[in-house]
Amino acid sequence: MKAVAVTDVSKSYGAGKNKVQALQGINLPVDKGELFGLIGPDGAGKTTLFRILTTLLIPETGTATVNALDVVTQYKQIRKIIGYMPGRFSLYQDLTVEENLSFFATLFNTTLDENYELVKDIYIQIEKFKTRRAGALSGGMKQKLALCCALIHRPSVLVLDEPTTGVDAVSRKEFWELLKRLQQQEITILVSTPYMDEAAMCDRVALIQGGKIMDIDTPGGITKKFANPLWAVRRGTSFELLSKLNEMAGIKSCYPFGQEYHIVFEDERAKSEVEKELKVLGFNDILFEPIQAGIEDCFMALMKSTSDTNEVHQ
């Protein structure tokens, strides 16, 4: 049995000129105990998909199940076994930390003590603020409280909508370490993020863009599929070089990646011609080193190929 199974789900908002197709024919199987990442930018459809899985929205077409329970007909049962942390802080701002926790525990007929082992790691970090109103907590503390509330009934599936957005690199790293520990408690975790580098922390990921899933695989599986040889320029990078590379013939794509540029050539011959031309232009010692593609390289290549096919269809 899959923890989550989504079959041909579509959903749109609005009508006529303002119609937005949020999801188009989504298929998504998530295994029990998996730490599964839904990776894509804002507006890709991540939140819509999560709202369908948490029974807050009804799909227009297709079906979705959580632990084999149907999201439309068996929503009441699903709500008992799912934990959900929305992207926007949704706890009661005028209740204290303690009051929020006991409120959500009561809703699920449980207490903080009953599942203390599960939330202990997180709870001890907010315990000293337990009498503070939730609205007066810092961003990081709000997030920890929300996660505690989402876990308080020991859900078998935990859905986290962009828990690391707007969070600094240090806290992001800590949050993922926390998820890894939670996963050992046999909870299936579905997490969405716009940060491509977080894909590496997941067992499997789905890359989503424009309401469509472009690929589902292990992070390693996705990067292995990168179709072309990829080259990096590591030294001598400059705005002038980047602008030049972007307008040169024979270069299929050239993207800056921090201190380096990642380049795909049309073919092997194009590479040697570009090398020659760069020397003539006075860019000396520009070296192309072969590299392995990362998730972000793959995401951009998939985005480009999807938009190219769309243009052909139009």
């Binding site: 507006g43 603020f129 503390m141 707007g166 690199a169 240090v170 800056p256 951009m300």
Partner: protein, 246 residues
């Protein structure tokens, strides 16, 4: 160095809490300056002071050549500002937003007209010029917001996490726009949580607990801290924070 920003001993206290603790630095005209720090390190407070939106408790600063205390109004006229959270009015159209900001910054009717046409053409928004900004994809919105923030040719543009949540292709297009603006002489002061973007800056400062712990070119920071990238430098430094995140 022709200074766009010059800061000496700038401090901001809220009651007993020192949000910004005695920071000093200069930013050169035309420089892309990355302003990094963990959540709660004091970045936003510092940026608000430099934009003339919040009075310092002590210290001196000149922004675009104007004194922070005496000439805050002139500072505001000579800077542009854009953040991820707020920049454009969602319930106004593309053209209305351009007209609104042009008007705010005192552009004449004909200047606004020609700027509008120019921006809409450059951003390839011809078919969306009369659409509500709310209906644009995030990446387009952010590119438009950036262009609108430059509408009055400010000397300095402040960008507060301009690329959060933006797709990777658009994120790179956005940085090309930043490079072009800097190339034309605009000073760019930018915060980001994407560590690869820190590498695109001419110089980077890292704030920890209200203080600037280090400031240098990305290459110098990496060699000084023996790190492979700015992300690792950032992790090393930000972990030293002792300030309680509360």
């Amino acid at each position: 160095m022709n200074k766009a920003i010059s800061v000496q001993h700038l401090t901001k206290k809220f009651g007993t809490f020192t949000a910004v603790d005695d920071i000093s630095f200069d930013v050169a005209q035309g420089e892309i300056f990355g302003f990094l720090g963990a959540n709660g390190a004091g970045k936003t407070t510092a940026m608000r002071m430099l934009c003339g939106l919040s009075n310092p408790t002590s210290g001196e600063a000149h922004v675009a050549g104007f004194d922070l205390y005496k000439e805050a109004d002139k500072i505001r006229k000579n800077i542009g500002y854009m953040s991820q959270r707020f920049s454009l009015y969602e319930d106004l159209t593309v053209r209305e937003n351009i007209r609104f900001y042009g008007g705010i910054y005192g552009l004449s009717g004909s200047e606004i007209k020609s700027k509008s046409d120019q921006l809409i053409q450059m951003l390839q928004l011809e078919n969306q010029r009369n659409s509500l900004v709310a209906s644009l994809p995030l990446g387009w919105k952010q590119k438009l917001a950036f262009s609108v923030a430059l509408i009055h040719n400010p000397k300095i543009i402040f960008l507060d996490e301009p690329t959060g949540g933006v797709d990777p292709l658009t994120r790179r297009e956005f940085w090309m726009m930043i490079y072009e603006a800097a190339h034309k002489g605009t000073t760019v002061f930018v915060t980001t949580h994407y560590m690869d973007e820190a590498e695109y800056c001419d110089r980077v400062s890292i704030m920890v607990d209200g203080r600037i712990e280090d400031l240098d070119t990305p290459a110098a920071l990496k060699s000084k801290h023996q790190a492979k990238d700015i992300g690792s430098v950032f992790l090393q430094m930000a972990r030293k924070a002792t300030r309680q995140d509360d």
